[in-house]
Amino acid sequence: MTVDIAGIRLKNPVMTASGTFGYGLEFSPYTALDKLGAIIVKGLSLRPRPGNPGPRIVETPCGMLNAIGLQNAGVGTFIKEKLPLLRKIKTPVIANIFGENIADYAEAASMLDSVDGVAGLEVNISCPNVKHGGIVFGTDPNEAHRVVSAVRAATGLPVITKLSPNVTDIRVMVRAVEEAGTDAVSLINTIPGMVIDVEKRRPAIANRIGGLSGPAIRPIAVRMVWEAASVANTPLIGIGGITTARDALEFIMAGAAAVQVGTANFLDPDAAVKVAEGIRDYATKHKTSAAELTGAARR
């Protein structure tokens, strides 16, 4: 069941998605952290961010919207306070980073490069570039190329680029970030969405627009992985609405080498481990492996 992604060796192809698993440690009362393929910690920025006012979340049919506003204590605090504890877990820890401009991304990357206990970086490009009129890095291939190149130059760590689904053609984005030197591509981030509270006659969350996640988006995410796989030269990591091993296998058969479990961690803090076990059971029953199953529906 081991898989190699971007040079990181995982016990199994199941990771936890950024922003849905805290720093991992919060889940130790409920699940066996050692049984995960990797832990991706919540998004980190160079400087601390307070996040958005509430309400920040609202439930939707088979999904949820969130606009947390990327609240986090900053890379420095992470390194000082969380990393020492995370080093005790026998599971690779991947740091998810984001920034408001390219220099911030690069500096966050280089800070994480110099410390022990970080197996790789996942670069969240679904953020607006405040220096370039707020255009979202992940919706423009040139912006995406620039930010990934900068991170690539700033670190020797494996770099995974996490794509935004909010584009007309995901293949263009895959090509752009691969050219910029990413070692792997993860997709998808949440899809912009809105719920309106019809009694209050205003958007249900304070930020108005939030990111849609959960089972509702799974068919969109699987399709994007399928499309990405038609051009990708690096391993793909499938994300979006995975709650069971069956769901994860959809992504794997569409072409993903690994998967991430997100919103499902809220429904069951043991979900990711159960997904990993279910994939193992399926592979055993069918005398195959996750690696062999990758892209099985494309053949």
Partner: protein, 259 residues
């Protein structure tokens, strides 16, 4: 803190729209004010768990009871569950109410279902004055259990159909003294008023807040409430999480304009 599948012992309608749910679940220690996240359906709609305060630890450690009101999809599904069926329970979660200092006058102010976290507190302290507010008489039926506890009760109803006509905050204004400690739970507007009254009387005040929740364990950062910060404090401590930093907060720490 556990994540378990537990059997329903009973699920009875104790007043129209209000249900008492007995769960065969015996957590090691429960502090008054703590809550659980319930998975009301195996399906994906509704998707998220629902938070409910722990109402009572049943005698003989047989399990715990929750008291809930049917307000939407999730609670409607819950109300249709029968003894013997099982539910996913995550908890006990959050902090609880801190103990009052020695010799303090204990005042509990509850609005509607805000009664739930206060029940175990009264049960533990075996002392105090309960101020209960509801729209009308029907809403007061849920407190009949309280009559068994050793505590004085005063009731206010908006329509005057039971107790004194008016709001629970009217009662609080009459009762509060500087040697009191106030514990409150209820709708945001009420809590805000309670906090002002307590502050004016110079009485410490603890409030239990509610927010929409996804995880219940402090990781999704969805249940943020704004705190009063002082200039010199770091910006990233502006928000606290109701599930993990609360649900009980010192009323003085809250930015009531944002609640």
């Amino acid at each position: 803190m556990q994540n378990s599948e537990v059997k329903i012992i009973h699920n009875k309608e104790v007043a129209p729209g209000y249900f008492l749910l007995g769960l065969s679940w015996t957590p090691k220690r429960v502090r008054p004010g703590q809550f659980v996240m319930l998975r009301v359906s195996d399906g994906l709609d509704p998707l998220l768990r629902r938070p409910f305060g722990i109402y009572r630890v049943m005698p003989g450690q047989r399990g715990v009871e929750l008291l809930y009101q049917v307000v939407g999809k999730g609670t409607r599904i819950l109300a249709a569950k029968r003894p013997g069926e099982s539910l996913g329970v995550l908890g006990p979660l959050g902090n609880g109410f801190p103990k009052p200092g020695k010799g303090k006058k204990i005042i509990m102010a509850a609005g509607g279902m805000g009664i739930v976290p206060l029940y175990p507190l009264i049960n533990e302290l075996k002392d105090g004055l309960l101020l209960f507010g509801a729209r009308g008489k029907a809403g007061t039926k849920v407190i009949k259990d309280f009559k068994k506890l050793k505590c004085r009760i005063r009731i206010a109803t908006e329509d005057g159909s039971a107790g004194q006509a008016g709001l629970v905050t009217d009662l609080l204004r009459e009762e509060v003294t500087p040697d009191a400690v106030v514990y409150a739970c209820g709708p945001p507007g009420m809590l805000k008023a309670v906090s002002v009254i307590a502050e004016q009387a110079d009485a410490p005040c603890w409030v239990s807040l509610e927010r929409s929740m996804a995880c219940g364990i402090g990781v999704c950062l969805g249940c943020a409430v704004k705190t009063r910060t002082h200039e010199e404090e770091a910006e990233n401590r502006l928000y606290k999480m109701v599930c993990s930093d609360g649900p009980v907060f010192s009323s003085g720490d809250m930015d009531w304009d944002a609640i």
